[in-house]
Subunit: 336 residues, 2 copies
C-alpha cells in the first residue's frame, strides 16, 4: 500500500512510474490495470502509471533510475532472495518496509542492514545503495495529498538528496539523514507501542462501554512510557537522538490512522490474542511481528548482560499479553 | 478544576479535604456546598469535603498539613500576594498552575520559581516548600478515576514522597523528581504546541469539510516538530531529558482532552484570532497566554544571542497567527 501511495508525489512531480506487484499481488495488479483502483487501499492511483505482474519484473526494472521496495516485513527474505539480486548496482533503492530483525546475541538490525547481510551471502559482489523511509505517514492520507513530513535515511546523503529531489512536493516534506539505525528503530517500534497505547482504548470500552469518551489520560500515560522505552531502544541500537522525534510522530499517527489500533483495542477489552487474531484475519499485523522479534532479541541481550529488561516494562507487558495470555492492565507502577 | 479534581485521589486515600475558592469562585463554592456539583467541570466531587469561600481562607488553612494551589496562570500574581504570605512555612505547597514567566534578558522561569522570587520581595523571611505537578492529566478524567500517570516535582524529594504517599492510588500514579525546570517547561509549553497541532484539524476541516476524517499525517508532523521544539526549550531552561517524555504525553492529552483543541481548530480553519477569542469567550486559554509569554522571552533571548529563533519555527508561527494575523499553514520546510 505505501509503495503504491508513493506514486502520488512521484507522479505529481512528473516522474514516470512503474508499479510491480509481488507474486501475491496479481489480483491487485489486475484491478489497477483495469481501473486504477487499489482494492486494499481503497484509493485510485494517479493516471499514467504502468503496472506489471511479478512475472514481468525484469521488464519493469529495465531502464528505471530508482526503485522503491514496498514489501511488508513478512516479505523481506523473499525480497532479498528474488528481487535485490536482479537490481543493477547503479539503481538506488528506497525501502518502506518497517521492521527490525533479531540476530545472534540479541543484536537488532534494520531492514537495510538485513538486506546488506543477506546480499553478502547471496550475491557477494553486489553493491546496492539501500535506503529507507521513516516518519509519520499513512498510505491513505498520502493518496489524499494531506500534509506529511517524513525522513529518508541511508548511508549516502547525496543519494538521499536525489530521492528527495524527485519526491518532495508541496504536501510531502522530506528530511534526509544518515541515522539509519535511529529512524528504522523508531519506525519499527512504533507499531508495537501503538498496540500498547491502544490497550487503553479497549480497557476504557470494557469499563465504560464503547460509546463513552476515550480515556486520554491513560492513553497519554502509555504514550509517554512508549516514547521513554523507544528512546532506550534507539540508544541500544546506537541510533541518533533526533530520530526519537520522528518515532513520536510516527507513534501518534499509528494510534489513530492504522490497523494496530484495532488489535490493541480488542486486547484491551480482554479478548484473548488468538481470538483477536481470528477477528482481524487477513490483516497484516506488523505490531505483533515487531513485538515478537524485538522482545526475542531483548531477552537474548538480557541473558548476555547487554540490557536490563526492567527498562521495557510496557513492551514486555505487550509480549505477555500475546504470548502468555496476560490480562491487559499495564504495570503502571513499574514505569520509569 | 484540577485543584478540585485532586480531591478524588485524596478522598479515596481517606484524607480530610478542604476546598477554598478564589475571590472569583463564590458561585462555584455555593454550588458545591449545596450539591457537590462542580458546574465548570460538570462532575460531582466526593462526599465529605468541606468547602470554604475565599473570605474564610484563614479558617481553611488552620490545621491543614498540605496545601494544593489550583489557580490558573492568570492568577499567580494574586496568589503570591494574597495566599502564599499567610501559609505557615511548615505546610508544603503543591501547585497545579501551568505556565512560564518571562523575566529580564529572555530568562524563562517556572511558577514555583516565580512564587519564590515574589515571596522574597513580599515576605523575605518566609521559607515555603513550593512544588508542582506535571504530566498528562485532565481534570475530567481524574474525576472519572481513569488511569493517570503524572510527575510531582520540587527541590526536596522527601517532601515530594510525602505528597505521593497521601495521593497515589490504584488509578493515580505518581513519579517524583527534582527536575522542576524540565517538568514545568514541558507542562507549560504543551498548551502552546497543542494549539499548533490542532491547526491541522482546522486546515483539514477547511479543505475537506468537518465530516471528513482528520489529517493524522499532518497532526503527527506537527506533533513531532512540537516535541523537537519542546526539547530545545527544556534544554534552554536547563531541564532534564526525561521531562520531555512527560511533555510528549502531556501534549497528547491536551490535543484530545482540552480546550486548546478548539482554538487551534478555529485558527486552522482560517478564523482570525480575535474572532476565535470571541467564539470561545469565557474559556481560559492557557495556550495563548504561554505562547505570548514564551515567545516574548525567546525574542528577548535572541536579541542577547542566547538562542536562535530559527530553532522554533512552529512556535513562532503560532505567535504570528495570534499577533500578526498570519495564515494558518505551517512553515513545513523550515522544520528541523
Amino acid at each position: 500500500m505505501m509503495g503504491s501511495a508513493l506514486s502520488y508525489p512521484l507522479k505529481d512531480n512528473g516522474n514516470e512510474v512503474r508499479i510491480v506487484g509481488t507474486c501475491l499481488d496479481d489480483d491487485i495488479v489486475t484491478a489497477l490495470i483495469s481501473s486504477r483502483y487499489h482494492p486494499k487501499m481503497k484509493r485510485y492511483l494517479p493516471e499514467g502509471i504502468k503496472y506489471y505482474y511479478y512475472k514481468d519484473i525484469q521488464e519493469a526494472i529495465t531502464g528505471t533510475e530508482y526503485i522503491i521496495g514496498g514489501v511488508s516485513s513478512y516479505g523481506i527474505e523473499w525480497f532479498s532472495e528474488n528481487v535485490l539480486p536482479i537490481i543493477p548496482d547503479e539503481i538506488p533503492i528506497l525501502s518502506v518496509t518497517k521492521g527490525l530483525v533479531p540476530e545472534k546475541d540479541g543484536e537488532l538490525i534494520t531492514i537495510p542492514e538485513y538486506y546488506k547481510r543477506r546480499l553478502s551471502v547471496i550475491s557477494p559482489d553486489k553493491k546496492l545503495s539501500l535506503n529507507a523511509i521513516g516518519g509519520p505517514c499513512t498510505s491513505y492520507e498520502l493518496c489524499d495529498r494531506n500534509q506529511t513530513y517524513v525522513a529518508f535515511c541511508g548511508e549516502d546523503i547525496d543519494i538521499l538528496d536525489r530521492f528527495k529531489a524527485i519526491m518532495q512536493t508541496a504536501y510531502y516534506h522530506i528530511r534526509t539523514t544518515t541515522d539509519v539505525n535511529g529512524i528504522e528503530c523508531a519506525v519499527a517500534m512504533k507499531n508495537a507501542y501503538a498496540l500498547a497505547v491502544s490497550l487503553a482504548i479497549g480497557m476504557g470500552n470494557k469499563r465504560d462501554g464503547k460509546e463513552a469518551p476515550e480515556h486520554y489520560n491513560s492513553e497519554a500515560a502509555l504514550f509517554a512510557q512508549s516514547v521513554r522505552e523507544m528512546k532506550r531502544l534507539i540508544a541500544y541500537m546506537n541510533g541518533g537522538e533526533d530520530s526519537l522525534i520522528f518515532g513520536a510522530g510516527d507513534l501518534y499517527v499509528t494510534i489513530f490512522g492504522g490497523r494496530t489500533r484495532k488489535i490493541g483495542t480488542l486486547l484491551g477489552e480482554g479478548m484473548s490474542f488468538s481470538d483477536a487474531m481470528d477477528t482481524l484475519s487477513g490483516v497484516t499485523l506488523e505490531s505483533v511481528s515487531i513485538t515478537r522479534s524485538c522482545t526475542k532479541a531483548l531477552m537474548e541481550a538480557s541473558k548476555h548482560g547487554k540490557i536490563d529488561l526492567d527498562s521495557f516494562p510496557l513492551l514486555m507487558h505487550v509480549r505477555s499479553i500475546i504470548e502468555d495470555g496476560a490480562a491487559p492492565c499495564p504495570p503502571w507502577d513499574d514505569f520509569h
